[in-house]
């Protein structure tokens, strides 16, 4: 096992897939000469050349649309968005073209593309640069949505996403690029719809993905001091969702808290809460809690930002509510 950063793991995934398949290419703003806005594509231009590591102007609708057209005729584009906030100006290409071409054509065309980039709040980036948009994309039939939390998951899932024949929205944690973790040596992939138990526990299930996994693990340490044992389930893929893994855990712990960075209304957390009550109603000893960001645009000031986003303290509190200890 090598110890790699999340960004190095992503870089390895793309480089390995580009080595094995000439139809795979990387396109986006600053991916080449600048070496990536977050340095995820560092060294790739030197390795693969300008033909396959392609800098674009700032025109997300343009180059995401280019990815869709190229995928329809047999290429496997990796389209990097500097952040998913900018996906909003390309959302017509993603929702109306990428997600629908296969069905509209009666199965004649497929769109094997990955749309990847940073998502979620970072530090004090304000209202337009701090959004978690997974609920937008997982809402849409035809898309798959993947959100890895660790370097190992990032590499294995990105390789799977690149080989997948459907459009995959691959949202990376903006604050996760620098985290380190053990990554298996050699070739490996992780199937979509396969969640992961990030920490075993007995008293309450906490479902979290991407950066929120780390928040849940921090909360777990704090709760352990009060002799509360939580099980952290990371679905890793939002759509398709490994519902069974979540339900198995809830059937064991009888309680469930969902932690998400997005807004609470019509959210992925709300969907998971619905599925837990539907699939494990008789096993639940308390209502399902959802810890989400507050339903407001992100403020800039540090103390206000901390008020809005989920924190370990909020997770601890939600778990204690689920245990009727608060």
């Amino acid at each position: 096992m090598a110890r790699l950063s999340y960004r190095e793991a992503l870089n390895q995934a793309m480089s390995e897939e580009m080595e094995r398949d000439p139809n795979v290419f990387l396109m986006g703003e600053e991916v080449g000469h600048y070496q990536g806005a977050y340095k995820v594509s560092q060294g790739m231009l030197q390795k693969f050349g300008e033909k396959r590591v392609i800098d674009t102007p700032i025109c997300e609708a343009g180059f995401v649309g280019v990815g869709v057209g190229a995928a329809m005729v047999g290429l496997r584009p990796i389209i990097e968005l500097m952040t998913f906030n900018f996906s909003l100006v390309a959302i017509d290409q993603i929702i109306n073209n990428a997600a629908k071409v296969r069905q509209m054509s009666g199965g004649q065309f497929k769109v094997p593309m990955v749309i990847r980039g940073a998502g979620g709040a970072a530090h004090q980036l304000g209202a337009q640069h701090s959004q978690s948009l997974e609920s937008f994309y997982s809402y849409v039939p035809g898309l798959k949505v993947v959100m890895p939390a660790t370097p190992a998951d990032a590499k294995g899932l990105l390789k799977t996403a690149i080989r997948d024949d459907d459009p995959v929205v691959f949202i990376e944690g903006e604050l996760l690029y620098g985290i380190q973790g053990e990554v298996p040596d050699g070739e490996y992939t992780i199937p979509l719809r396969q969640g992961d138990v990030k920490r075993e526990g007995t008293d309450c299930t906490v479902v979290a993905w991407s950066k929120m996994v780390h928040l849940a693990l921090t909360a777990a340490e704090q709760l352990q001091k009060d002799n509360i044992s939580i099980e952290v389930i990371d679905p890793r893929t939002i759509k398709p969702l490994d519902e069974e893994l979540i339900l198995q855990s809830v059937r064991k712990t009888h309680r469930c808290v969902v932690v998400e960075e997005g807004w609470p209304f019509a959210s992925v957390g709300a969907e998971i809460a619905h599925r837990v009550q539907r699939g494990a109603f008789d096993d639940l000893d308390a209502p399902v809690e959802v810890v989400a960001s507050l339903d407001v645009p992100m403020p800039y000031a540090l103390d206000l930002e901390e008020l809005v986003v989920p924190t370990a303290a909020k997770v601890v509190s939600a778990v204690k509510r689920a245990l009727y200890q608060e």
């Binding site: 290419f25 033909k51 674009t56 102007p57 025109c59 609708a61 343009g62 180059f63 995401v64 649309g65 280019v66 990815g67 869709v68 057209g69 190229a70 995928a71 329809m72 005729v73 047999g74 290429l75 584009p77 017509d92 290409q93 109306n96 073209n97 071409v101 296969r102 069905q103 509209m104 054509s105 009666g106 199965g107 004649q108 065309f109 497929k110 094997p112 039939p141 035809g142 798959k144 997948d164 024949d165 459907d166 759509k239 398709p240 969702l241």
Partner: protein, 337 residues
């Protein structure tokens, strides 16, 4: 000698125009049959007819090779047929049948044919332009010399996505020909109320594209001028923006009585209707016989009648198809997501 050579040239042109006339007439008759079926309640949804504009798709696609790609809008019955699609597939799709071009899942606005490299009809105005640019990108990436033809109406010219597609095509020198079918109205609004310039091709300069602009009443002219642009794209990878001046005689869709224009205006454009103009030229200077044309027209009529019968008699769209084509991944059933 001169007489003999001229005769041979006339024969070649006659054969070519006969074929283009047949295609235009077939498209027109298919759309008339569609309008009739729509009025009878046999087909639903939106129905956008291109009656009057047939010379643009027929002439342009006649200039392309079978391996070239075509991407079109929601007014694309003609483009689909010009690219080799059948009247049966169009009408069956409009009837929502499993035998339709897109198995009844697409409808009038979303005809597709992967085997003919017809990449579809799209319903978001201008939203297909970056996609077409991507198709051209793929051909260049693979060092193939296939060209992409991207059709759109003048109503999509103010749309942002179109300019992003243009910009990347010009920047990366992609083998694509952008063909603006200026049918004078974006739904009910004339061009002078939607664009600051009267000539759509003026924007080509900002994207280092070649440009051309001409009337679409002569299908042979359309073919010839588009052929120049295709040749340029294939050999030099320079994209071209073409504006073809044309007219739709029907409303924007079946629900539009087109009261925003005068009878005089429509009558003026009727004099430039490409279908009777092609016929007149065939009978006139190209020396086709009335019998020959009557036979061709009878064949077209029979083909459309047969297509309508086929569409009516075809099996309904399959219920399972609703779930089958959402994802390419066979492990995914949308009922269990």
């Amino acid at each position: 000698m001169n007489d003999i050579r001229d005769e041979a040239a006339v024969r070649v042109e006659r054969e070519l125009l006969l074929d283009l006339y047949r295609q235009m007439l077939l498209i027109r008759r298919v759309e008339e049959a569609a309008a009739k079926a729509y009025a009878q309640g046999k087909i639903g949804g939106f129905l956008h007819l291109g009656i009057g504009q047939e010379s643009v798709c027929v002439g342009a696609i006649a200039a392309a090779r079978a391996t070239d790609y075509v991407v079109a809008t929601y007014r694309e019955h003609g483009h689909f047929i010009a690219k080799g699609g059948s009247a049966k597939e169009v009408l069956a799709e409009l009837y929502g049948k499993s035998t339709g071009a897109s198995r009844g899942l697409g409808g009038s606005m979303h005809l597709f044919s992967s085997e003919r490299r017809f990449l579809g009809g799209y319903g978001i105005v201008g939203g297909h332009v970056p996609l077409a640019t991507g198709c051209a990108f793929a051909a260049k990436y693979r060092d193939e010399d296939d060209v992409t033809l991207c059709f759109f109406g003048e109503g999509s010219v103010p749309q942002g996505a179109l300019h992003e597609g243009f910009s990347l095509a010009g920047l990366w020198k992609l083998p694509i020909v952008f063909i603006c079918e200026n049918n004078q109205y974006s739904m009910g609004t004339p061009l002078y109320r939607t664009l600051a310039v009267a000539d759509v091709t003026e924007c080509a300069a900002g994207y280092a594209m070649a440009r051309d602009r001409f009337g679409g009443e002569d299908v042979l002219r359309v073919r010839e001028r588009v052929a120049e642009a295709i040749d340029r794209a294939r050999k030099t990878k320079q994209p071209t923006l073409i504006e073809v001046l044309t007219y739709r005689f029907r409303g924007h869709s079946m629900s539009d009585p087109a009261t925003y224009r005068t009878k005089e205006e429509v009558e003026k454009w009727r004099q430039r209707d490409p279908v009777p103009l092609a016929r007149a030229r065939l009978v006139g200077e190209l020396g086709a016989s009335e019998d020959q044309l009557a036979s061709l027209e009878a064949h077209v009529k029979a083909e459309v009648q047969e297509a309508a019968r086929f569409a009516e008699a075809s099996p309904a769209a399959e219920p399972d198809s609703v779930f089958k084509y959402v994802y390419a991944d066979p492990s995914i059933d949308p009922r269990k997501l």
